[in-house]
Every structure is written in C-alpha cells, then in structure tokens.
C-alpha cells in the first residue's frame, strides 16, 4: 500500500498498453496502404498519432479515463485513415478500368 503512494502522488496512471499497441497497429496499417499520400487519410493519420501522444500525456498526468478516451479516438481515426486510403485505391482502380474501356472503344472502328 505504501509502495503505491509515490505513484499516485506524482499523478501517473497506468495506460493500457494493449490498446496503445492496437491503435499503433491501425496507424501502421493505414500508412502501409498509402494513407500519408491521400490528403484526407493523412489528416486522420495525424490525428491518430496526436491522440496516442495525448493519451500518453494524460496517463502521465494521472487521467487514466481521459487517456483511454484518447486511445478510442486514436483507434477510430486510424481505422478511418486506413479505410479512406483503401477507398481511394479502389476508386482509382475503377477509374483506370473505365479509362481502359474508353481506350478500347477508341481503338475499335
């Protein structure tokens, strides 16, 4: 009991490392599919990174609940960044496919 006191006294709170890792994993997944190159995805990626950092800061300040909420936000921002990047890729493929059809129609008499 006495051993816990110094920790509480300095205001620190334990951060759920599994949730941090989960959020970071989502950030890396979004980066891997080109999230940094797509403006809207890049915005949410940056938000996710900032939110992870904010979660750490809040945990350090002893606000465990706030830190967990930040991790929730980081997780959903990273997921959104990943999805936006994938959507953009798929739309790009669709545009290319229609472009090929146009080219084929031009080639045909």
């Amino acid at each position: 009991m006495w051993l816990l006191l110094p920790a509480l006294a300095c205001g620190g709170a334990e951060l759920n490392q599994a949730r941090v890792a989960d959020a970071q994993s989502s950030v890396r997944a979004a980066e891997a599919v080109g999230g940094n190159e797509q403006p809207k995805a890049a915005l949410h990626l940056q938000l996710a990174r900032d939110e992870i950092a904010e979660a750490r800061r809040l945990a350090n300040d002893g606000d465990g609940a706030g830190a967990n909420m930040m991790l929730d936000r980081a997780k959903v921002d990273a997921e959104l960044a990943l999805q936006l990047a994938r959507t953009e890729q798929e739309q790009q493929k669709a545009r290319q496919a229609w472009q090929k059809i146009q080219e084929l129609k031009q080639e045909q008499p």
Partner: protein
Amino acid sequence: MKTSTLYLGASGLVLSCVACGASAPTPELMTARNVYSQARSSEAVLLNPKGVHEAEKALAIAEAAHKDDAGSATERNYAYIATRRSELAMAQASEALAHKEQQRAAADYQAGLQRDAQQKARESTQYAQQLNQTQQALQENNQELQQREQKVAELQAAADKAQQQLKQLEAVREEEGRLIISLSGVLFESGGDKLTSSSESRLDTVAQALAAYPDRSIVVEGHTDDRGSDATNQQLSQKRAESVRSYLQQRGVPPEQMRAVGRGESQPIASNDTAEGRANNRRVEVIVEPAPGERRTGAIAPSAAPQTQDETPGLPQGRSAQNVR
C-alpha cells in the same frame, strides 16, 4: 428489419433529446448527429448497414451521456467516435461501390475485347476467303492463259505445217503484200461448181494455212479460160469462187473474213491458145490481203474492185470498162 428498427430507435432518441432542451448539445454531438444523418441518407444504409449500426451505437451512448451529464467528456468522446464511425461507414460503402464499378468495368472490358476479337476473326476469315478466291481466280487465269498459249502454239504449228505443205502442193506467191494461193488443175467437176474429192483434200490444207491469218481479209477469186461466153464464164467463176469459200467456211475459216469474187476470163495468167495454158487459167486464187498497216498504196487498185457475192446478180459483171484488161 432489425437494423431499420435500430435506426428508427436512434432517430427517436435524437428527437427526444432535442425536445427535452435541457441544455445545448456540445459541438461534437451536433457534428455527430449531422454526419450520422448523412450516413443514414447515403448508400451506406444498403451497402454497409453494419457500419451504420456501429455509428448509431456510438451516437446513442453520446446522446445518453448528454442526457445524463450534458457537456461531459463522455458525451464529447462518444460524439467524436460516432462522427468517425459514420464517416467510416460511408467510406466503406464508397469502397464497395468502387469495387463494384471496377468489376463492371472489367466485365465490360472483357466483353469489348471479345467483341474486338470476334470482329477481327470475322475480318480475318473474310480476308482469307477473298485471298483464296483471288488465288483461285489467278490460278484459273493462269491455266486458261497456258491453255490459250498452248492452243496458239498448236495452231501456229499447224498453220506453219500447212503452209509448208501448201508450198509443196500449190503455187504460192506474194504480190505487193498479198499472199496469193493459186489452185489450178482439175478442181471442179466439168462445167460445174461442184468440187472434186481431190480438190477438197487440197482445200483442207489451204484452210489450215489460213488459220495463221485470223485478222486478214481473204478474197476467193474464181477464173476461167476463154471458152464459152463472157457471161457464162463470169457466172461460172462466181459460183466456183463461192463453192470454194463455202468449203473453206466448213473447214473453220470464219465467213465474215472471206468474200467470193468471180473474175470470169478477164485475168488469164497463160495463153488460152493451148490446152495447157487454158488449164492454168481455169483456177481459183485464195488471196490473203495485207494487214491494214502493211497495205501499200496501189497494192489493190480501186478499179479492180471485184464483184462480191453481195453484188446484184444479172449485171454485166466483170465486163465493165474498168474490169476489162
């Protein structure tokens, strides 16, 4: 059905909270309501109902937090998450749409390629058929040409041979571009115009030789000695010339190429005082006229215009002032 019920439930929740008006929602909650509403009216409802439901759950928690403790961190946090979940649901639906578009485009492209390939195959078949027909026509033309060349060569050889024979059998001479084949001796039965069997054989050789001159005019001239009246001789020579012409026609010489002329006794080539001379004067001459380009001036005098078979019979043929030598 279950999802629709949930949507309706969420809408009711939103309306009831607005109605209570206890305190103004946070900007995060207002944004969450707005974005969720967009998601509800987007294709995400059909394409990604699960994603919309996730947003709805987050919004419901935010609304509940707002009701319990307006402006709380929980309200703000779940409103934020609800906003993101709504955006996520729409982005997932957009990806699904894009994927469908891509598949449709790929199918269209394949169909286009197939049409293209079929069109090219049809064209290729047509070209091949045309080529085949052209080659066949060319081959037939070549065969026909070879046959014609062979036929020409055969005709030429036969004509050459016939000419050689003719030169051996008959008197052949050239005068001013005209080839004159003179057939004398016993050609006709006495006093008439019927050919003897031996003369037919001689005329066969003449007909073969004439095949070498398909583009020349041919004049068959009949001549007599001076025995008998002029009129009788004129008539006899005409008949005999026509008899020879008719026989040559039977042996393949085109009728339009020939004309028959009776000269009577007007053009003797020997004295009529001796039997031998008279025999020589009784003759038929087959004359091959020069080709138009080869005709020399005066080769055939206009005054010597012969009586043809088309001329009116009964006139004093061969006895006009022009025809008397």
